[in-house]
Point group: C2
Chain length 737, copies 2
């Protein structure tokens, strides 16, 4: 690839991005797209909307960029919680570290590469890209020390920045914990694997156990029920009721829309529903009683400290019974997993691990198979009757040019929902836990399939082989990575930048909206979904580009400016999305930072190993020799951070909780908290309870089934929620991204 071709590609990509961003700035001003681009504001009822027609609506403007730029971290924390801040911090960290990397790479490494061999240089535009990479440095060159210095600078600055980020995010997490005074999860312990007894119910067993052994702290408990047939019937009835009511409701509502700004007032909540569907009032059937008790319960304690104690200690002499764990927040509970028998968990974990690994490894096999099918000759050979069709020129261009990548993209869409369902099967008790687990799986998947498989030129078996012969690892990498560095350069350029444009455009919801309006000609407000932030797709994406940056910046220094542009754009785009589109439905309390930290350390060490291999191949013993202490140093730094910061993300400090308890006792707030506590966790809450302000009261079906399925299809009942308790909705994750 020549430098001029790269420039052309840059030009085209800049053009596309500019176009899409301008288009976005126009589309977002259209009232018909308000549900696509302002989900968050609708949900929090902050949107003022005017239907007036003016020219301004069709002129692109950078106002959203300014808005996003000006938003401070405090605002994001207040709006969307710690997870969003951590996400933005990951981007800021990347910007910082790659600014340093860009300076050192452009001013030190690039000239060394360019003048690395005695050769007559052509004009720069017609130079091959490989002249700018480390491949151009001749063997045994003294100048390889420059690369070694650059590696040191990048590694050290990354470690220093990582340390300060970790430290500041730990501090934020502690503030987050001490700040959430009313958080019922601090008082609650999830007990699983309650031993079965023939004489008494699970509930009675729990009561006896905790009044016996934790008399001082025990407050009350709440059993978890398995959703049985009756619950399913009830659910169907609810759905039918909703779909029957929907039209009349919508009509009724629509007349008001212009008057009350999206029915924002609490006036037309369905006062009729609660009466009809009161809990336990279905013809006298005791619904909860009819459900089967699981061997799991939420146990409430009088103080946070007592709950922590009960959660952290091995309760019983049989470790497989009375398994305790701190409960997730009410809105974060993943109800359907609570009824999984505790004894199954370990085998489920192993099963999903195996399945996810298999999926990761064999993913490319069907893809390449289908892709090879689209090779023209192959197709013609296999289906001779297609010959006449395929011989037309535009047909052949279409098939060979676009189909393979379309197929890859379609297959890639399958990955996040698949990983999400793996994580759900794993038995995670919280939705944030499930998302974090899915995030890890998607991350491994992405790094494996984008980096390693590409480095070893598409052959999974070759990539696996390399890992199976540990000894040759540096040399193998040293040979393969520089050869592929210019591919990653264009990958950042095309896939990276475009992914941001697509993210901001919200292509999928926009298409659905357009389809609804233009093809189906439905003029009503479309059924609205407020998306929760898809950390499990976006965190891996950001980390992937960081990963490519660390591994390639020494080898192909030209990558750094493109990466910087990517991270700057990401900073603006995601801040905008956090402000306008996504809403945080549950919090993990910054649990994504350790993931980012570990990935960065992995990328650094891999970059160092690759450098070791390259220096070895270039016969520079000095540079190789200096790289080894760097690897050891980085690993030691990682271990130090694990010791110093990781426990904060795994456990809660007793000190803090005791202080919180004390404050609450002194202020007499405890009684109020106990009251809240009793209502906080409700497994089978019907629409009846949606009017209450408790954030946790969601119907189980509502909160999980949709999210799990990951389907774009929207059940008609969803529209109701917009009118009733919009801040606590729970819709499909945008797993199609």
């Amino acid at each position: 690839m020549e430098f001029s071709a790269l420039l052309t590609s840059v030009g085209i990509n800049i053009g596309i991005c500019l176009l899409l961003f301008s288009l976005y700035s126009i589309l977002r001003k259209q009232p018909s797209n308000v549900t696509v681009y302002f989900g968050r504001k609708i949900a929090s009822r902050k949107l003022k909307r005017s239907e007036t027609f003016c020219l301004d609506r069709f002129v692109p403007s950078p106002s959203w960029i300014l808005k996003a730029w000006e938003t401070t971290e405090e605002e994001i924390l207040a709006l969307d919680g710690l997870d969003a801040v951590v996400f933005v911090r990951i981007i800021i960290f990347s910007i910082r570290v790659f600014s340093i990397a860009a300076i050192i790479c452009i001013f030190l490494v690039l000239p060394v590469n360019y003048y690395g061999q005695e050769m007559t240089h052509k004009l720069i535009p017609s130079e091959s890209l490989h002249v700018f990479s480390i491949e151009n440095v001749k063997e045994n060159s003294k100048w390889l020390c420059a690369h070694c210095i650059a590696l040191y600078v990048i590694s050290c600055s990354a470690c220093v920045l990582l340390y300060f980020e970790y430290s500041s995010i730990s501090r934020m997490r502690l503030i987050h914990i001490t700040g959430s005074v009313m958080n019922p999860s601090h008082f609650t312990v999830l007990v699983r694997s309650i031993p079965w007894s023939a004489e008494e119910s699970y509930s009675e067993t729990v009561r006896k156990f905790f009044t016996n052994y934790h008399a001082a702290g025990y407050l009350s408990h709440q059993m978890i029920y398995r959703s049985g047939t009756i619950h399913k019937l009830m659910d169907d009835a609810e759905k039918m009721y909703n779909s029957l009511k929907e039209n009349s409701v919508e009509m009724q509502c629509q007349t008001k829309i212009k008057g009350c700004c999206f029915c924002a007032g609490p006036t037309n909540s369905f006062a009729i529903l609660p009466r009809v569907k009161d809990k336990g009032a279905y013809g006298g059937i005791d619904l909860v009683g009819a459900e089967k008790e699981c061997s799991a319960a939420f146990v409430f304690f009088k103080t946070r400290y007592a709950a922590l104690m009960a959660a952290k200690v091995l309760q019983s002499a049989n470790p497989m019974s009375w398994a305790t764990d701190l409960a997730p927040e009410p809105r974060d509970v993943y109800w359907s997993n609570l009824s999984i028998p505790y004894r199954q968990l370990w085998i489920r974990k192993i099963g999903t691990l195996v399945a996810a690994t298999a999926f990761m490894l064999v993913f490319l096999l069907p893809v390449t198979l289908v892709q090879s099918m689209t090779q023209l000759e192959e197709l013609q050979r296999k289906f001779p009757f297609l010959r006449s069709v395929l011989e037309k020129k535009y047909m052949s261009q279409l098939v060979t040019g676009y189909l393979p990548s379309v197929i890859l993209v379609l297959f890639l869409y399958l990955v996040p929902p698949t990983m999400m369902s793996f994580s759900a099967m794993e038995g995670s008790i919280s939705r944030s836990g499930r998302k974090k687990s899915a995030c890890l799986k998607v991350l491994y998947f992405t790094i494996w399939n984008v980096f390693f498989v590409n480095v070893f030129t598409g052959s999974i078996l070759r990539a696996l082989n390399v890992f199976f012969s540990v000894k040759d690892l540096p040399a193998q990498f040293g040979r393969a990575v520089p050869a592929q560095a210019s591919f990653f350069l264009t990958y950042v350029l095309s896939s990276g930048w475009a992914s941001l444009a697509i993210e901001v455009m919200q292509v999928f919801p926009l298409t659905c909206n357009l389809f609804r309006r233009c093809i189906l000609r439905i003029k009503d407000e479309p059924i609205h979904e407020t998306l929760s932030f898809p950390y499990h797709t976006e965190v891996p994406r950001i980390l992937l580009f960081g990963f490519l940056g660390f591994t390639c910046s020494i080898l192909a220094p030209l990558i750094t400016p493109f990466l910087l542009v990517y991270f700057f754009l990401a900073y603006l785009v995601y801040k905008n999305q956090i402000l306008n589109v996504y809403i945080s439905k549950y919090e993990s309390g910054g649990q994504f930072w350790p993931v980012a930290h570990n990935t960065t350390i992995f990328a650094l060490v891999l970059a160092q190993i690759i450098a070791l291999g390259v220096f070895g191949l270039k016969e520079s013993p000095v540079a190789s020799g200096f790289t080894i202490p760097l690897i050891i140093g980085t690993l030691l730094f990682h271990e130090y951070c694990r010791q110093r910061f990781l426990p904060i993300f795994r456990n809660t400090a007793a000190e803090l909780l005791i202080e919180m308890d004390r404050k609450d006792e002194q202020s007499g707030r405890m009684e109020k908290i106990y009251e809240e506590l009793r209502k906080a966790y409700c497994q089978f809450t019907l629409l009846a309870n949606r009017h209450s302000s408790k954030p946790g009261c969601l119907s189980k079906q509502e909160s999980e089934n949709d999210t799990e399925s990951g389907k774009p299809g929207k059940p008609p009942m969803k529209v109701l929620e917009l009118w009733t308790a919009p801040t606590h909705l729970d819709e499909p994750e945008p797993s199609q991204k």
Copy 2:
């Protein structure tokens, strides 16, 4: 190797063993050897000794075998605690599983191997050994299924037996915990990394922290001091005092010996010592005050549950300060490690891990170097002046035949003390923890250097290479292990049986004793050392033979009878040693069982992988196919056991401790326990305190320095201990074994 040669070897080994055992049965009857063979009985003052001369003393008798055979598990538990029982259980487990293995291997696998190829068999004695191994089965033979069946039977029976053992040892551990009512460690938490403050002492900081956050449970605390110059001076003074006193004391004592049976009465304890060396009475110097406070303390709690809580929870928002841990038993505390700053621990752990691995990998390099030096030609070439000496026939035989193995044995003696000092450097807070850690290190060392290096015919690099190319592992093993199986057979026969004879003979103490009596002509009672059981050398040895058994029994079925004999002998010998020689100075509470369990599972899986490789090479897809589910099943079983039983060995169940607390409160025993607690942990106790019955009060120097050095040299002061508080002595580990 021919079968007849094997038989000869068996005969020779049986002869040697019989000879040594007979010799032992005579030697143990000699009054002069009483300190060598009855250390335990002397220590517990149970020995009745007669100096009368009779013929019976010189006739070998199997009485010790009968005695060992008849001793029940309960007796061992009462005498030597849970660790000894676990050790015996490991042997019993091996006997059981290899009985099954022997039956199936001799009656099913051996005939299949023998008739594996169409060949004219010679008379059995002149057959090559390889005819009896799997190498004799021809490729693609249907009969390989027999090996597969045998593998299934052995694996399944091993798993079933492991399960029941784990379960019963867990039960014993729980009983051990609930049985030790007066154990002060249940009430005590070790706090490390107390934050430093300029205004107040560490002691004050601890008091404030625990009265603030653990007011309900906190009882008192005791600081840990760094031993400074004054303490060293004091110590030297003590030693000098002892050596001056020794002779006069011994004289004084000796006159009484015949009368009072080893001075067993408490009458002649040195009433003079306490008065002279009273704590803090060294010319008015406040000894304890003069020591420097460490940032560590023992904190005592009012209930066991409170202590458990404080130990298990993250105390502070900074995980590097206020690190808590349940304290070890007083006699188990490893004092000198308590003053290590907590922040150093992680780096110490990494450091010792690296050092131990390096030691393990490069151990054979100097050995082979020195051994190659003893090759005749090599020596002659390097040192031409030796030529005349070496050309003599008996000299050359000596040099080539014995020197190499002597050098290997001498080098091997270095291993346990080295690993022990690595484990001490690691920063373990308890002596049992240090021993367990050393046991693991010795185990890895032994398995690596005996099994893997031998399998890959002595080349460490080749062995490492095999592990670095994971993919070919089964095939490589399948090729290499059967070829070496007959070597392992002779290894069990010679090294295994002989090691037991040497163990029972106590060669090293016996030699010292003889040297003292015959060369130095010292007729006094020799300075006596009661040895604590060297689990860190004996557990790895037993496990190694189990490991060889599992990996080789399918391939070379002839190994199983020899193994069975080994384990039977081991059962008798070690029981005898537990009864007579060793004394348990501290308890780990059965922590060696998980080690044995894991090693057995590793051996099983490795055996299955080797079988997979062999079946692959013999082109038996059915047998290979059936082996894979077996591997998966074994790994799943291991994971299940980890879930089901391991937490019992890592944590103490709250349930049990609460019940114990309750009982003590009801019986009013608590006050007494608190009183004991205040005196339980004493870091700088002088001889003064040895008269008290508290087991924990040992001088730090006495309890650690000797044990650490692992030197056979005995400081003269040791003799005193026999007279004063013999049950709580603490002498060198017999790490030279």
